[in-house]
Amino acid sequence: MINLSNIQVHFGSFEALKSINLEVKQGEFFTLLGPSGCGKTTTLRTVTGFINPTKGKVEVDGKDITHLEIEKRNIGMVFQNYALFPTMSVYENIAFGLKVKKVSGDEIKTKIDEIARKVELEPMQLTKKISELSGGQQQRVAIARALVTSPSIICLDEPLSNLDAKLRVQLRNELKELQRRFGITTIYVTHDQEEALTLSDRIAVFNLGNIEQIGRPDEVYNYSATEFVCNFIGDINKLSSDFLISAGANSQNGVDTSKNCYIRLERLYVNNKLEHHLSCDAVVENFEYYGLYIKYALNSNGERLKVIEKNSGSPMYSIGSTVTVSFNPENIMQY
């Protein structure tokens, strides 16, 4: 469907994208994830045509669109702040792209009624001004506006970043539902790893103008390809070689203690040693109660560890008490 090969972008002497290669499949929800300034938005804007790459090729369905004008690409876009035209009504905003394409008035009305129904915008909301809508409604208008012209691809540039936490979760679900309903190929940009993990079919993790890993959410989380990915996605413990050796880790159980070793918080167990697990004692220094789970801060001979325990309802470990921490050496990520 979309193919980026060897894309390089320079802004003056700054190399924003070094050499990007990726492929997005038909109907896929593909996320570009990374910290600020990593090149994810530059990649998206290269696909939509707002940025001309210094080198490389952008292809859609085998056609080279690298230098095709923006308005001829047939790629819908939802902007970070939605970019809804403030002087137009909701209806006029959605109709804008159709009017540009000189679609007849009757057809515009039919298409808008249809898309409004799909994104769950009430008919009375169509006559409203943009400023009269809530954040969630604005997002739906932005999506409707991007989809009404039947683009082959839709690009979303951090559309949830300006919203409060609760609305963000709600709209995230709506967004996924809409994407499933329309079955449209989607490229989504975010710096929020949770958003990327929950929404995406596949994720490309960006760092300093490069792609570090492309994979399914479970792949990038469980089998992070690089140290950067493993640190960027989710919370993690970095384990020192002293700690690993004292717990019994060695080459026989697959751990190279000379490497940088990491383990996810939920892969450490408290007072629950299973077969083949390595273990050591630790003192509870602190805990944070989250309701669904409890996050403990432990100290094992100077090694600080974070552990997440599901809240089963049993009493919490008290501060100062000694516990046994165990882990499966197979779960250690080594770089």
Partner: protein, 573 residues
């Protein structure tokens, strides 16, 4: 490659249009903004094909010229201080302190926005002049009172101080309203008293705006025209009236141009200093949630009383001329001459006189037409310029950006002199047309002097535009022109209309430039008012007509402001 012939053709077409726009702008820059000013320099230093210092020698040999230069350089700094003091007071009274009747006071202080320039000066002259309302009142109390007191430096300073606080009421007031109240609360929470809060929290935020308006005031003081002409008397004439006088004498025109260059040089130095000061930094609020300013109660009752008294005395000073002008415009000539109102003296005769005599109403039509054309012209021109400098980053757009600043650096009179002395001959770059003495040069002059203000505000509006809107329109398939007219222009329209209204109002009674450029058969209102005011104070008819003009202009200005701002705010909703 995927580019079809269909996609290439529109690209070429848009490039041709852009090329033509560039060509037009470059012509305007060369012929209108640069050539006349270079010509002014040549006019002074290049005569009969040789370099000459004759004008310089003559200027330093002329006591009148030296006096006027000295007077301008005395007036400008002192005016900056007095206007600064009064201007800050007005902003404090209307926005910072809790003063009873602040809304009414604000209206009074803002009257100079619809009632300024030469009309305002004639209003002050009516009240304080030799036969003025207050002069007669003081003379009745103190028999030895000098009835000619309102003349010279102090009269000019007084009139100009109250006439030029308009910028403070717009820009400084806006800056004050932008102060984040949470910073004040934080300071109070840390134990700061009212004075410390004012000095350390509020005033630093106002500093950039204060610097900008003070520079404007300084330049206004340097280029003072109508106030010294009407109330300066023989002993206090400044550069511009002297230039006007020299420019009317055939043998002294080089002297007029040289004084203009002097004024221009001083302005440029001042603007460079301001730019350096501005670089030291703006204070932008970084609050996540900004709260609006809550007015401060003055806790000390004595201080509170005196601040209230001061506020209302200022109010009377601002409102007295406007009220008397409106009232006396409805009275007969003898009443105006006596300055004594009675019910029986009210009449509509003055209005009938103005509207029944073409010589009286012609200046109104002339000024309205010239102002309309210039205000619309400059709005469109600067819209194009701003679009180019914000959208296209290339050498030509940089040239356009910087050269359009030229009128900001030069005083209006120098521009006027440059235009007169350049276009009094057929010039190939003006298609061999002589413009001096025509109506075109008036509109051109009006347009040029409104460029700096229009450029500043329009540019700010362009920069505050959300770039993603244009990206969104493009993404939805819209071409550049379609995007501009359907998306960008509707958003900018309230600002453009507001600028149009302010330019139109500012030009209606324009005097400083008109007096150099006007066509004898199409005398603009400013010049007409000056002629009537200067003719003879005792002539009640003249004063009455001036007052009718003043009232009509206030009505027109107010209607324009209401229509535009009303419409603008609806568009903004």
């Amino acid at each position: 490659m995927f580019l079809s012939q269909k996609t290439i053709k529109p690209m070429r077409k848009s490039k041709v249009i852009l090329g033509l726009i560039y060509l037009g702008l470059l012509w305007f820059i060369a012929a209108v903004l640069i050539a006349p000013n270079i010509n002014s320099i040549l006019f002074v230093f290049w005569q009969d094909g040789d370099f000459t210092m004759r004008a310089v020698d003559r200027m330093f040999g002329s006591q009148r010229a030296i006096n006027s230069l000295r007077n301008s350089f005395i007036l400008a700094p002192i005016l900056s201080l007095t206007v600064g003091f009064i201007g800050i007071s007005l902003v404090m009274i209307t926005e910072y302190f809790d003063i009873k009747g602040a809304k009414i006071l604000r209206l009074g202080y803002m009257t100079t926005l619809v009632y300024g320039g030469i009309i305002l000066v004639s209003g002050y002259r009516f009240l304080y002049g030799s036969n003025g309302f207050f002069t007669n009142f003081f003379a009745s109390i103190f028999p030895n009172f000098d009835t000619g007191w309102f003349e010279g430096f102090w009269a000019v300073l007084f009139v100009m101080t109250f006439a030029t606080t308009g910028n403070h009421m717009i820009f400084l007031r806006n800056a004050m309203r932008a102060v984040d109240y949470q910073t004040i609360e934080a300071a109070r929470n840390m134990g700061a008293n009212q004075f410390t809060i004012l000095r350390r929290i509020v005033l630093p935020v106002l500093t950039p705006s204060l610097l900008a308006v003070t520079t404007f005031t300084f330049l206004t003081g340097l280029g003072a025209t109508s106030a010294p002409l009407l109330v300066g008397g023989p002993n206090f004439q400044t550069i511009t009236p002297m230039m006007l006088s020299f420019s009317r004498m055939a043998g002294s025109r080089d002297l007029a141009a040289l004084m203009g260059l002097f004024l221009g040089g001083a302005s440029i130095i001042l603007i460079i200093i301001l730019a350096q000061l501005e670089k030291r930094g703006h204070y932008l609020s970084i609050s996540k949630v900004k709260t609006t300013l809550v007015k401060h109660k003055i806790r000390n009752p004595i201080a509170n009383f005196f601040v209230h008294l001061y506020a209302y005395v200022l109010f009377v000073i601002y409102v007295a001329p406007i009220v008397s002008v409106i009232l006396f415009s409805f009275t007969d000539a003898p009443t105006i001459a006596r300055r004594q109102l009675s019910l029986s003296s009210f009449t509509l005769q003055n209005y009938i006189l103005v509207f029944s005599n073409s010589r009286s109403y012609q200046p109104i039509i002339t000024s309205v037409m010239f102002s309309l054309m210039a205000a619309a012209g400059v709005a469109i021109l600067i819209l194009v310029v701003c679009r180019i400098i914000t959208k296209y980053k290339n050498k030509i757009s940089s040239i356009v950006e910087y050269t359009f600043m030229i009128p900001w650096l030069l005083p209006n009179v120098l521009i006027a002199i440059g235009l007169i002395y350049t276009f009094n001959l057929p010039r190939w770059f003006m298609f061999n047309r002589v413009l001096t003495g025509t109506m075109t040069i008036m509109v051109l002059g009006y347009l040029i002097i409104r460029i700096p203000f229009t450029l500043r505000i329009t540019r700010a509006a362009f920069f505050s535009l959300d770039n993603t809107l244009e990206d969104a329109a493009k993404n939805l398939g819209a071409k550049t022109m379609y995007t501009f007219f359907r998306v960008i222009l509707p958003i900018l329209l309230p600002s453009v209309l507001a600028i149009f209204a302010l330019n139109f109002n500012g030009l209606l009674t324009e005097f400083d430039m008109s007096v150099f450029l006007y066509h004898p058969l199409h005398m603009p209102l400013g010049v007409q008012i000056q002629n009537l005011t200067m003719a003879d104070v005792a002539q009640g008819d003249n004063t009455a007509i001036t007052f009718v003009y003043a009232v009509l202009m206030m009505v027109v200005s107010s209607v324009v402001l209401y229509v535009v701002y009303g419409r603008g705010s609806r568009l903004n909703e």
